[in-house]
Amino acid sequence: MVNFKLNGLEVAVEKGTTLLEAARFYGIEIPTLCYDAGLSPYGACRLCLVEVGEPGKSRLVTSCTYPAREGLQVRTHSQWVVNTRKLIIELYLATCPSSKTIQDLASRYHVTGVRFRQKHEDCILCGLCIRYCSEQMQAKAIGFINRGEKRRISTPFERKAEECRFCGGCMYICPACQARCQGPEEKEAVCNACLNLSPPCLDRFNDAMCYLDPCVACEQGRKE
């Protein structure tokens, strides 16, 4: 067993457990886009960033690829982490606003605007489909081609791959494929239709006073 501190709490997990798995095991929510429990971690989406190390000497690491170590100090919801996470979601909104998954994340984490030049990509290069194809389907019919800004997902020689069995797994797992609720033509970059009301109790107390999700009772007390 490995003992370390998770948000100030003494926790113990089995050797080899990643920080993300540990946090989720202890009920702490960390958002991800490129992680799937059945696939190898990849560390591409950067949403699962957590702060490790002593205050003052800490750094941000991707929790999905970082194994728990003895005596480690991990903070999953420090100001630094939360702000960085919001910035990353904002960047995803600027890249790929048509994705429901990303819009949901924006609502969930209170990202209400985009300060970057708006693009309309249909892929965030998270590599989930590629890992699904090779690890779950043992097909390796799709993969990354080129590099840098020309990097994209394709088949060998950009023709139909012989290995493809039309399982549809790549589309099933894709976080960018499911269109946002208002359809793809929506002009606004941020949907926020299901913006979760932030519990106003957090303005007055250090901890949430209840664990209802969504926070129904907070609706009346919500501040603009």
Binding site: S134, G143, F144, N146, R147, T155, P156, A161
Partner: protein, 188 residues
């Protein structure tokens, strides 16, 4: 073509464990042999060695030194690294492009020459650099580079200086957009 994999396998002494092949080394060997990575050879290799074609294609498109298109017998490269750029490699590339009648990244129609730009050759003191068939030529200017290539052309094509000049002019005219427009009109 079935022989290809067998031959390459024999040729690869240290890198070839049937299931643990160094893909880059393998592709380099293919490229050395064919001057580029032919699709059918890659497909054959993937089948013979039980490799993933997708992985091969990924690696082949990732590295700039691999080419999936046939490349010329003689490779001409100009350096476009910072030092070379500052000292005017752009002009050199333009001039070479004009003399050879091909743009950077292209291969001449007869398959004799290909022109490309590379990012740094590590000899910045000699900037700007031109590499012809692995031979480094430093302190290039447009004029010196043109002379160098013309000399090479003369040798490889057996043309006289006057013939060569004519050839270059013709190529430049062919490459001109008006020529394309004229050809388009002819078809109509």
């Amino acid at each position: 073509m079935a022989k290809v994999a067998e031959e390459l396998k024999n040729g690869q002494k240290e890198t070839a464990g049937q299931n643990n092949v160094s893909l880059v080394a393998l592709l380099q060997e293919v490229q050395e042999r064919y001057n580029y990575l032919p699709e059918d050879v890659l497909r054959e290799l993937a089948r013979e060695k039980n490799l993933s074609l997708m992985e091969m294609y990924s690696v082949a498109t990732f590295y700039k030194s691999f080419s999936l298109q046939p490349r010329g017998k003689h490779k001409v490269a100009t350096c476009s690294g910072t030092a070379c750029h500052v000292r005017g490699s752009e002009k050199v590339t333009e001039e070479l492009s004009r003399v050879l009648g091909i743009k950077p990244g292209e291969t001449s129609q007869d398959g004799a020459y290909s022109l490309e730009t590379v990012n740094c050759l590590g000899a910045c003191a000699l900037a700007p650099l031109v590499v012809v068939d692995g031979e480094y030529h430093g302190n290039m200017t447009a004029a010196r580079a043109a002379a160098l290539i013309k000399e090479h052309l003369k040798k490889s094509r057996g043309l006289s200086a006057a013939e060569l000049e004519q050839d270059v002019e013709k190529k430049a005219w062919e490459g001109c957009s008006c020529a394309i427009l004229l050809a388009g009109n002819d078809k109509k």
